[in-house]
């Protein structure tokens, strides 16, 4: 792929993703039938479940980037790690907001300290701390290594979130997959899942470019005038 077409791939993914999310949401809101027990409220599933899947995917990608950086030391993996972590935090926070809006009419409360919700809150805090603390790291090499190690440790919570509804007696329902929901609900779920997938991959690619530009600035040698001013004159001490 030529550099020029690669330049346009990320914005194209964002546009296609946004179009798919609009189409899937319209299908879920206006065409899909209401669920037998939850009625209209169940339509929240078409955005909540794809967000959950994609938050998990974005964090798995961040985990892969962290391992790749630790193994190769290639900076492109650190840039992608920073981008994927930020995306994972955004999707996890969005997931919690959608979940709270769904919980109120179905459970009667906005939030409950049930295993699925608690482990998700731990994930938001654990993963969210890494980009926040990266902002304070001034030495790029050290910052990249510790954030990759922190990401590997924080990733341990991702499978715990996924299996929490199986391992413990949870108020939250079991995982929603095409096998566990009616076939009438499949298409809006799938379209939104691929829409959010394209959207976040495009956004992560753009965000990684931003990280690469910032890294280039951080590691660039200072201009000659500034370098001369910073170097003490011979015998100055």
């Amino acid at each position: 792929m030529s550099p020029r077409s690669r330049q346009w791939l990320a914005p194209a993914l964002v546009v296609v993703g946004a179009a798919l999310v609009c189409a899937g949401s319209a299908w879920g809101l206006f065409k899909a039938p209401p669920e037998v027990f939850m009625g209209e409220v169940q339509r929240i599933m078409y955005v909540h479940v794809p967000t959950a899947w994609n938050a998990m995917l974005a964090l798995s990608f961040a985990f892969g980037c962290a391992l790749a950086f630790l193994l190769t030391g290639d900076w492109k993996w650190d840039n992608r790690l920073e981008a994927a972590l930020e995306m994972g935090v955004v999707l996890s926070l969005l997931l919690c907001m959608q979940g709270a809006i769904w919980a109120k009419p179905t459970w009667g409360v906005w939030w409950d300290w049930d295993p699925r919700l608690t482990t998700t809150a731990v994930r938001v805090l654990a993963v969210g701390a890494i980009p926040a603390l990266r902002a304070f790291g001034e030495v790029p090499g050290r910052r990249a290594v510790w954030s990759a190690v922190a990401c590997v440790i924080a990733f341990a919570d991702v499978p715990i979130v996924y299996f929490s509804v199986k391992w413990w007696n949870s108020l939250h329902q079991a995982q929603s997959t095409p096998e566990t929901v009616s076939s009438a609900f499949h298409w809006p779920l799938r379209i939104n899942a691929f829409g959010i997938l394209f959207l976040w991959t495009g956004l992560v690619a753009l965000r990684a470019r931003l990280s690469a530009l910032r890294l280039r600035e951080e590691t660039a040698p200072p201009p000659p005038a500034e370098a001369a001013a910073a170097t003490p004159a011979q015998g100055a001490w």
Binding site: V14, A18, V21, S25, L29, V36, F37, M38, G39, E40, V41, R43, I44, V47, H48, T51, M87, V90, L93, L94, M97, Q98, I101, W102, K104, P105, T106, L199, L203, L206, R207, R209, L210, L213, R214, R216, E217, A220, P223
Partner: protein
């Protein structure tokens, strides 16, 4: 009590509105941050 949740359209609208707002705001933040960084980088190269 029928065991079926009645109404709730306002929660559905809220969930979709929050989703659209969060994803759009994040996409806009990346666009503006990237544009500012590209401008800064081209200024640095021009020096």
């Amino acid at each position: 009590m029928s065991g079926v949740i009645q109404g709730g359209e306002e929660f559905v609208i809220a969930a979709y509105a929050v989703t659209a707002a969060v994803l759009s705001a994040y996409a806009a933040s990346i666009y503006f941050r990237l544009r500012a960084e590209k401008r800064r980088a081209s200024r640095e190269e021009g020096r």
